[in-house]
């Protein structure tokens, strides 16, 4: 396989823009109509993902180690979408047809062979990772809605029971799919530490124009079913640390931090936890009653409700980084941050400037921006 020739041919094909993935999926669905069901109605985002993944693969095709990690994740990730071993041949077939179509007379047997080899490498890595993953867990979990409670006009708390039991670390997230929005998966943090009965809580905020969030905040009834992907994420408690903990939660970013707080309550000697729960207005502090109950129960927990844009509200006021820095010196703490991307970025920068070591600032870096 000639990596340079491959890159060159890809850069020429990709010039045709959206037509390329459009041709690919149409070709695939005509040759294998049963595959269409594995995709959402609108394919716009899907097409962008395809080109993005192809670009990454082509860029790293001569650096197999880096590429391997990406492909293993991709292969495992595709299990919940319902990808099976036989689909890989179909996809390879349509990919080659697409490349040939757009390459025109630049398509030579040598280039065809390069692409065949490259695709084999990709498909084998993805399938191997998927097979290894199969041994340890299901592709996805069926979950039944046990309760759905509106906490604010735009926030609901969903409680579900997955089948079989889903093991996870407090602070981790799972992708959720609702039958009302088939084939659209969105990541949500689990808002509790593992329970005896295996139930999970999710805090869902309505995002304007969000396809999935509206179905999850307003459209769920007891007994409805959802599908959950495997747990992912690195915002988890550092159990080797003995330092006190600072938590900053913006809106439903509270979910993973509440889970971690519950985990702390089970430790033999809980560290002090200082939790800032932030929202624009007082009614955005949707879970304050339950937090205050926890704070009353645990002497090591301090909850600080913080409101950024509501002059009448009680509690701390001002921008979140200001409120947090004003409240104390956090250089000796472990920090856990979750919420809107900007908030996490700003607080993280301020803490680092104040002397908190970067590796002690724990954040998650996906999910929040997805509608």
């Amino acid at each position: 396989m000639d990596a340079l020739r491959l890159k060159d041919s890809f850069s020429k094909v990709v010039m045709h823009g959206d037509e390329v993935p459009l041709f690919f999926y149409s070709d695939l669905f005509i040759k294998h109509p049963e595959v269409r069901d594995l995709f959402p109605i609108s394919m716009r985002v899907q097409r962008e993902h395809l080109i993005g993944a192809l670009a990454q693969i082509v860029t790293q095709v001569d650096r197999v180690d880096e590429l391997g990690v990406f492909l293993q994740d991709l292969g495992r990730d595709h299990r919940k979408f319902g990808a099976l071993a036989e689909h890989y041949d179909a996809v390879g077939d349509s990919l080659l047809a697409t490349l040939a179509h757009f390459a025109g007379d630049a398509w030579t047997p040598e280039i065809a062979a390069d692409w065949t080899d490259a695709y084999r490498l990709v498909a084998d890595a993805m399938m191997a990772a998927a097979r290894a993953d199969e041994a340890s867990r299901p592709a996805c979990w069926q979950a039944t809605v046990i309760s759905c409670e509106r906490k604010a006009f735009d926030v609901s708390v969903l409680q579900v029971r997955p089948e079989p039991r889903l093991d996870f670390l407090p602070g981790q997230s799972v992708a959720i799919e609702t039958p009302q929005r088939p084939r659209l998966w969105r990541y949500y943090s689990i808002a509790n530490a593992p329970r005896q009965d295996g139930t999970l809580d999710f805090h869902v905020r309505l995002i304007d124009g969000g396809a999935v969030s509206i179905a999850l905040t307003y459209g769920q009834a007891v007994g409805d079913s959802l599908r959950l992907g495997p747990p992912v994420g690195v915002l988890t408690l550092d159990t080797t640390s003995r330092r006190d903990i600072l938590m900053v939660a913006g809106s439903t970013g509270l979910a993973p931090l509440k889970a971690i707080t519950q985990q702390v309550s089970g430790l033999a000697k809980p560290p002090h936890v200082h939790l800032f729960f932030c929202a624009k207005a007082a009614d955005g502090l949707y879970d304050l009653p339950s937090l205050e109950k926890l704070a009353a129960e645990y002497h090591w927990l301090t909850v600080v409700p913080t409101v950024t844009a509501d002059r009448r509200a009680n509690g701390e006021k001002g921008t979140i980084p200001d409120v947090v820095t004003r409240a104390g010196n956090w250089s000796g703490h472990d920090a856990y941050l979750a919420g809107p991307t900007e908030m996490v970025r700003d607080v993280s920068a301020r803490l680092a400037a104040g002397g908190t070591a970067r590796e002690r600032i724990h954040v998650e870096d996906f999910g929040w921006s997805e509608p």
Binding site: M15, H16, L22, M43, R44, D105, D208, G209
Partner: protein
């Protein structure tokens, strides 16, 4: 066959158009509006992509026709519409259908975005208005009650032996006036609410009557 326009020489690509930058003109010298230039470049980029795609379609069409002629000559009768042609047409039809579906979903999403955003803004406005109104009512009740209390305290006959009594009287006057003002506002507010409900019912009845009439008319025209 190598077509002249497929030759492997350096050509301007859509990416290069998109990435093009120009140095700013020196201060005080006239230059083009940057946003206009950007917009034009975006247009050029789109046009280039379209041309590239048309080119590739044409090339494929030529290839197919060429093959058709060759096979046609061999077999003695020309195949007008081969399997390959059918497939490419099917791909084109499905692609167009997919784009239409994408557009419908995007429109619905944009509409829902607009609706929720407006509802949120409206909710905030109503809340703010209500808060301001509540502040005003409270302030007015307090200041008028204070005046009433002062008036009672300063009333003639308030001797030193009666200090306790007159203080109590003053407090009573304060509370009574406070209550009165508050009740007046509450009544006005409730009446306002009732009026808007009545208005709403009236409008709804009117709309239903109108809709029934319209449907009737349509039915009539349908029969003619």
């Amino acid at each position: 066959m190598t077509l002249a326009w497929q030759q492997d020489q350096k050509r301007l690509t859509p990416d290069e158009v998109q990435a093009a930058t120009f140095p700013l003109s020196r201060l005080g010298r006239r230059g083009y509006d940057e946003e206009h230039v950007r917009e034009f470049l975006r247009e050029v980029e789109r046009e280039l992509v379209t041309l590239l795609n048309e080119k590739v379609s044409l090339w494929n069409e030529v290839e197919r026709l060429r093959k058709r002629i060759i096979t046609g000559m061999k077999q003695g009768d020309a195949v007008l519409f081969g399997r390959e042609d059918a497939h490419v047409h099917a791909v084109r039809i499905l692609s167009n259908a997919q784009l239409t579906a994408d557009r419908y979903v995007a429109d619905a999403q944009a509409y829902s975005h607009k609706l929720t955003e407006e509802a949120r803004t409206r909710r905030d406005e109503i809340l703010l208005e209500a808060q301001q109104h509540a502040d005003m009512v409270l302030e007015e009740a307090q200041s008028r009650a204070r005046q009433a209390a002062l008036a009672t305290l300063n009333a003639p006959g308030g001797q030193s032996v009666e200090t306790d009594r007159s203080a109590l009287k003053a407090e009573l006057a304060y509370l009574r006036t406070f209550g009165e003002v508050y009740r007046t506002h509450l009544r006005a507010y409730t009446e306002g609410m009732l009026r808007s409900i009545a208005e709403w019912e009236h409008n709804e009845a009117g709309a239903i009557a109108q809709a029934t009439a319209d449907a009737g008319n349509q039915f009539d025209t349908g029969r003619h």
